[in-house]
């Protein structure tokens, strides 16, 4: 966040697509833009590339002003030295795969272009398909040509709009590794749009959470994932265990804040931002829920034990997701019910073999500990229906 900052963007727009985005991306930094479908990720990349002209704001790259509405600067895309991979590929239909790539190699001497393009084809694992036209390629193959073309230009900034969405997991992993390697070899800002949160976490230094054109939060993947600023971000980050509670007391010396959730008292991560008595949202990632084994005691059982009935056990490969309904200690009739449905559902995962050995598939009761270091408090928001 200082001198070596290479891309600095601030956009405001109301029409046709609302934007309220502030983004910084340093050289060698890989930033992931995540947000629901239609939240403006592509629009932001297009603004950086110079393909749309936002109403207001500025885009500065490497001390060069690309866009500045106040001074009426709008550099055309040709001069911006961007490598842009389009979400819908936008390959040149009349050029074969190889020439689609050489088309972006204008900065190299003509002789070396073919060689470099071939090298890029290899990098995206498309050797042998050099002379195919886009219409003769499969979806994933086209996507990789588009990726190679974006990398080709020797860009000052790399913009990738869902670069791996159409390839199989094996290829995807290889391409992600290529990208990770690239990051260390060329020190430019990289912005990646992705719907795959694991991918974002694995690849990105920083995540920007976007909603309706507004950058809600940015930070390291684990920060955004585990300490979202609001339930909205939490939802974006795929959190399922989001609840409402009231603050009971703070115990800064122990690093905890006590909250009351449906009559149970829970120890949460200390957070002084919320006053005693305030209604807050809180979340717990499934990774911070420890199941009590039935056969023997387990560590951490003293932390926030919660009992409930198993509702569903779903095994997906190596992990098993368990959904439980919380048994509430007592239902005080006079007290306002803070839960939405009055019935709180908690989800957590265990490894499939643990599930198997604990015979979790049988319905029944289960006790879990909610590790207090995973309980994160957020301001209570009004439910946003249009998600």
């Amino acid at each position: 966040m200082s001198e070596d900052m290479t891309l600095r963007l601030s956009l405001r727009q109301t029409q046709p697509i609302p934007l309220h985005a502030d983004i910084k991306c340093g050289a060698g930094e890989l930033l992931a833009l995540v947000g629901p479908s239609g939240s403006g990720k592509t629009t932001i990349l297009r603004a950086i590339a110079g393909l749309t002209r936002p109403e207001q704001g500025s885009i500065v790259c490497d001390d060069e002003t690309w866009f500045d509405s106040d001074n009426n600067i709008h550099m055309p895309p040709q001069q911006r030295r961007i490598g842009f991979m389009f979400q819908d590929y936008a390959l040149f239909p009349h050029l074969c795969a190889l020439h689609n790539i050489t088309a972006a190699l204008g900065h190299l001497p003509a002789k070396t272009r073919t060689e470099r393009a071939q090298q890029l084809m290899q990098q995206v694992h498309l050797e042998g398909l050099e002379s195919r036209y886009p219409a003769q390629l499969s979806g994933g193959q086209r996507q990789r040509v588009a990726l190679a073309r974006a990398l080709a230009r020797d860009p000052a900034i790399l913009l990738l709009d869902e670069p791996f969405s159409a390839v199989d997991q094996v290829t995807r992993r290889k391409l992600q590794q290529e990208l990770a390697r690239l990051r260390h070899s060329i020190k430019i800002p990289m912005i990646l749009v992705t719907h795959d949160l694991d991918e974002a976490s694995a690849l990105a230094d920083r995540i920007y959470a976007l909603h309706r054109g507004t950058t809600l939060q940015d930070g390291s993947p684990s920060e955004v994932a585990n300490r979202p600023k609001s339930a909205l971000v939490a939802r974006l980050m795929d959190h399922v265990n989001i609840f409402t509670a009231s603050v009971v007391s703070h115990a800064p010396e122990k690093g905890i804040t006590i909250i009351n959730w449906q009559g149970s008292t829970l120890e949460a991560n200390y957070n002084k931002d919320f006053a005693v008595g305030e209604i807050v949202n809180w979340l717990i990632p499934p990774s911070h829920i420890v199941m009590h084994r039935r056969d023997r005691p387990s560590r951490g059982e003293h932390e926030n034990p919660v009992e409930g009935e198993i509702r569903e056990v779903v095994s997906l490969g190596e992990t098993t997701t368990v959904t439980m309904r919380i048994r509430q200690p007592e239902q005080k009739p006079g007290k306002e019910s803070v839960g939405e449905s009055g019935e709180e559902i908690l989800s957590f995962t265990v490894s499939t073999h643990t599930a198997r050995r604990n015979k979790l598939s049988e319905l029944g009761t289960v006790t879990v500990s909610l590790l207090s270091e995973g309980i994160h408090l957020m301001p209570k928001i009004v439910e946003d229906r249009k998600f």
Binding site: Q78, F86, A90, H94
Partner: protein, 222 residues
Amino acid sequence: MDTLALELSLRLAFWTCVVLLPVSIFLGRLLAWSQFTGKGFVEAAIALPLVLPPTVLGYYLLVSMGNTSAIGQFYADLTGRNLVFSFDGLLLASIIFNLPFAVQPMQRAFEAIPNNVREAAWCCGMSRLRALWRIELPLAWPGLISALALTFAHTLGEFGVVLMVGGNIQGETQTIAIAIYDRVQAFDNPAAGTMSALLLVFSFVTIGSVYMLSHRRSHAHV
């Protein structure tokens, strides 16, 4: 066969195509990609040369390009030659009345290029000229071929304007169309028939070959 007239016609058709190519690319792109109020009327204006009978259009061109006209004077001052009754005058007239045939197909062809393909060209760092040359023109290729074929054929066949502006001077402004017309007027049906047949065969082969080549070119990526 009147080879002198045929040669002249071909020369005229060739140069008309050569001049109209950049003009129609420029106008076609402009009309395809810029939106302005009254655009429809600009397009209509381009089609107007078609509306007047060729001889009448020719007459008005003759008057406005004649030696006493501003254009004619300007041209005479510049080159020391007359614009009317010369090849240059024919060419100018030919360009004007072929404009709609050249611009319309080009405009449609440019309109058919997906926006994001053009954007991708810019994002590949191509200058506007390079994008035009490597991306837009190849994609507008079928329209370009249509434009050229129509212009070529129409120049060969047009005689109203050419007769008026050129004056039917053998070897200078007598095109093959006028020569055939003369034969027909002189009731020299065998000669007219032979010339017509040869012209048709020649055009058929030429235009057909151009189409075939252009198909081969665009086949690959369909």
